[in-house]
């Protein structure tokens, strides 16, 4: 029924969002493609985090949020009554700004998702563990201490663990909300490398404060300002030849 081979993963049509009476997103229209990295940039408070959290409906955990419009995920509106939010989030993983592993072992962290979705077979769990940690480029660093508490890892390792944890449920899309803002440059470089290698298997949307980062890792870039999507297009185009004056001002550092 759902065709995951679609070229377009997300087709957002006329999305509006309010926190109480404050409108945070205004008439957003955007298409997010399969196997591409889409960077979302903009100054603080422009709605970029709000937007990415709407894509897996995490935004609904905040009281007083209202939305109108449609977000078609592989042709199905995610706000539809028939769309169960648990199912959507299994298909759409998320990595947060601050590394947020559970206070459990590395093993338990990675296998949290598969276990709650009913995978019981030990061998299969072991396989998922290994492939997820390898995909997150963490396997070599933790393979000898899988049963140690995840809080013993460094910040960068914790963030890669969170990526491994998201990969373990075999999602289709990975949403990243400023995943490197709490990390040092070396850890950041590792995560960026990782994002590049994940592109062939996953569609990635990443919110970032760093325009250099957007330039380095993304195929498409969306520029948000005051809740509006000002410009969306190929990253090269946006950074070399922006059509909108506001985009140009932002990327040349005139504000923001």
């Amino acid at each position: 029924m759902t065709n995951y081979e679609n070229k377009i993963v997300y087709d957002v049509k006329g999305l509006n969002l309010w926190y109480g009476n404050d409108q945070a997103l205004k008439d957003i229209n955007i298409k997010i493609n399969k196997n591409e990295v889409t960077a979302i940039i903009g100054p603080s408070g422009c709605g970029k985090s709000t937007f990415i959290k709407t894509l897996n409906r995490m935004i609904e955990n905040i009281p007083g949020v209202r939305t109108t419009g449609e977000i078609m995920y592989h042709g199905i509106n995610i706000f539809d009554k028939t769309m169960r939010v648990e199912e959507l989030r299994t298909r759409v993983g998320m990595v947060f700004q601050k590394p947020n592993p559970f206070p459990k072992s590395i093993y338990e962290n990675v296998l949290y998702g598969p276990k709650i979705h009913g995978v019981k077979d030990k061998q299969m769990l072991q396989e998922i563990l290994e492939t997820s940690l390898k995909s997150a480029a963490l396997w070599d660093e933790v393979k000898d201490r899988l049963h140690d508490n995840a809080y013993g890892l460094s910040g960068g390792q914790q963030q890669r663990l969170c990526i491994a944890r998201a990969l373990a449920v075999q999602p289709d899309v990975i949403l990243m909300d400023e995943p490197t803002s709490a990390l040092d440059p070396i850890a950041t470089a590792k995560i960026e490398e990782l994002i590049d290698s994940l592109k062939s298997d996953y569609s990635i949307s990443i919110v970032t404060h760093s325009m250099q980062q957007a330039g380095r890792i993304s195929d498409k870039t969306a520029f948000f300002l005051m809740g509006e999507l000002v410009e969306f297009g190929n990253t090269e185009m946006i950074f070399s030849n922006p059509r909108d004056k506001r985009t140009e001002d932002y990327i040349t550092g005139r504000f923001g």
Partner: protein, 320 residues
Amino acid sequence: MSSDEKVYELDYNKMNNQKSQTNNEKNERKSVHIDQKRIDRRILINQISGKVFFSSTLFALLVLSILLYRIFSQSIGWLDLHFLTSKLSIFPEKAGIYGVIIGSLGLMAVVIPVTLVLGVSTAIYLEEYAGKSRVQNLIKVNISNLASVPSVIFGLLGLALFGRFFKLGSSILAGGLTLSLLVLPIVVVSSQEALKAVPGFLREASYAMGASKWTTIRKVVLPVAIPGILTGAILSISRAIGETAPLVVLGIPALLLKVPTNLMDDFTALPIQIYYWTLDTVLTPEYANLAAATIVVLLITLFLMNSIAIIIRNKSQKGF
């Protein structure tokens, strides 16, 4: 012309700087002088306040040590194996508190599961499921208020509801349920605090994996919150074990020779027995010694329970 202007400007700046420097120096000297006096005063006040707080602590310790001394000295010679393993009797030399201890254990057997199940479930509902509407807030405030209702009133409620309406009389079950009602609000509030203390980003992480609310609570929230919940629960249960008033209202017999064998039997508990023995010391002075010995047993029980709570709390602090 323009170069002249510059020179002038520079000189002017220099002068300004020098002026402000000398000003600063004067100010500094002055302020150093004032500070010296103030610091002396502050140190003095600090020393005095330290002593005031110490004497307050000393007062509490003094009262406690007098109490403990009186109790322990009165219980010497009475608190022995015979006292712990014999049944009650009107003759002080024969009397033992075996049946009383069984009664208190029976109460615990009712209070612990009832308060844990009802208290923690209520806290989970209020903290995780209930919204932030006005009605919900009213419920939350009222539960906090219930925690400060005097225990004798809960005794009356227990008498009317469990004793009379459900015809449980003055059985262990009736007493246990009454004490559960008494400490439930405290368990609910302390469990709510423990749940609140679980960081939101852990819940977010679980939701983002497609976990339902209950899965998140069971797998992520509760494991982190359980030490806090248990600490609160143990402290409230130890309060229940030491309560007298609600049980007096419920009509516990003054002298119960039978040892209770099941939850429907009549019973007597440690604090009640202390109360009745103390009442009768005018007629039989040795009852005071029996009461003292019982107090020692009760104090040791409470001390052990509170120690367990502290150990759990310390362990949980190391873990996370």
